[in-house]
Subunit: 242 residues, 2 copies
DNA sequence: TAGATTGTTAATCGATTAACAATC
DNA sequence: TAGATTGTTAATCGATTAACAATC
């Protein structure tokens, strides 16, 4: 197997870069493999994975290749090894500590999700400006005053920040995160953040999702009405037809 | 301007198809245009938009072309018209009614988001199996017993379902939605749903986001350490290097 | 052995970027 | 007019899909 290496400008370090689309398919693979394992299987083929996830088997093979695991012709992949390698690749073995800013309803929902830890993300503290929330615990995680975030992030060498504050506050809070040494921001606010280029932003824009969903729904209704005119009318003004 | 039309197999209807990546950029455009308008501007150019959102101006122009709006050379686009056309295209003028299944922390967070209505999505009812939640209102929306969902969806001709139940229940609840005539499911459960082909599923997989975020963070730390060895070690086992 | 499946290279497809003429 | 910006076509880039030899 050949590995593509990319030379990094900073030094002698090389670092394999996985295409974004591939990366997004890996967690579903992992989930399926766990199911498969629970069914008592010992090996799995790309055909198996592709069948369940509605993906081209060739694509699955390419994806696994870029993770760097090897299979055996005619047999497939050893399930146990594949799961282990995937988890290692995704960094799900060791926890990254994260701060969460904004303990509103979305922030609380994230604090309540214990499954994140299985994916290597541990929210170690929440921050808010609301005196009623400060000092309390939400789903077991301490809520601290927002003004302490920067200093604590520095001291604890936190690298990941989760941003669940209102859109109006997002940029200011993000600035604080950056000042505290945070290198990656998971942004739930519907705002394009300005950050230095050494900081990564991953936008979780639910409004974009709504747009995509209703657009696809509309196109789909066009093709297969199966609905009374009244139903179609409910949505038909959504997209201009030409 | 030429418009690409796609013939739909079902009948004489034509329906313009917008590439997915384009669609996801439209809500950010809209947001920026509103800001721009608040600043008192009357026109906007692709260069303006691209500069703020870190996008190639040509790409912005292509995107606007596929929405079907026209600008004027040397002037740009009339802001008011552009905003209006974007909203119309995205269907943000008229509301689509949606049901939400699973009034847990994530479900409640979505119920609490009043901004969704500005994007054409109105959650008209929530459903849950918990007797303590049934009959109450969460953020002003009534929570009803889960077993009523299917029939109500049919009667109210609901087309959109939001799925915020635990992974174990997701498929069963989705089946109920489909049986109730729902045509689009916004799925927050980390499961690949099986649905008939006339039903659309949009996955909101936070675990994939975590994977993408930590992977990008790791690659970034490789290139620009700027961190003490201890910091890097915190995360370095995450991805096998070769 | 036979045949399914991997590994790998080539072809296709779609989106982004570049180039440039048209135009206000 | 001059020059910025649109509209549009061509080139590039990257990801997906197809093809096929290698192999257990």
């Amino acid at each position: 197997m050949k590995l593509k290496l990319q030379f990094s400008p900073a030094g002698g370090t090389t670092c394999k870069v996985v295409p974004g689309p591939t990366l997004k398919r890996l967690p579903p693979y992992h989930r399926f493999l766990k199911e498969w394992q629970a069914m008592g299987r010992r090996t799995v083929s790309c055909t198996d994975i592709g069948a369940r996830l509605a993906l081209d088997p060739t694509q699955v093979r390419k994806d696994l290749e870029s993770v760097g695991v090897a299979g055996k012709p005619r047999v497939g992949y050893v399930l146990e090894n594949l799961i282990r390698d995937l988890e290692r690749f995704l960094g799900w073995n060791n926890l990254n500590h994260a701060f969460l800013a904004g303990a509103g309803s979305m922030g609380s929902a994230l604090l309540g999700n214990r499954k994140f830890e299985q994916c290597g993300l541990k929210i170690v503290a929440g921050f808010d400006v609301d005196p009623l929330k400060i000092g309390t615990k939400i789903h077991g995680t301490q809520i601290l005053p927002a003004e302490k975030m920067k200093e604590l992030a520095q001291r604890m060498r936190i690298l990941i920040g989760i941003l669940t504050v209102p859109a109006t506050e997002a940029q200011a809070v993000a600035d604080g995160m950056v000042a505290g040494g945070i290198r990656a921001i998971w942004n739930f606010a519907p705002v394009r953040l300005h950050v230095p280029e050494h900081v990564i932003v991953h936008d979780e824009d639910l409004y974009c999702s709504i747009a995509a969903l209703s657009q696809k729904l509309f196109a789909n209704l066009q093709m297969r009405p199966q609905a009374t005119p009244a139903m179609a009318r409910n949505i038909s003004a959504a997209v201009p037809m030409r």
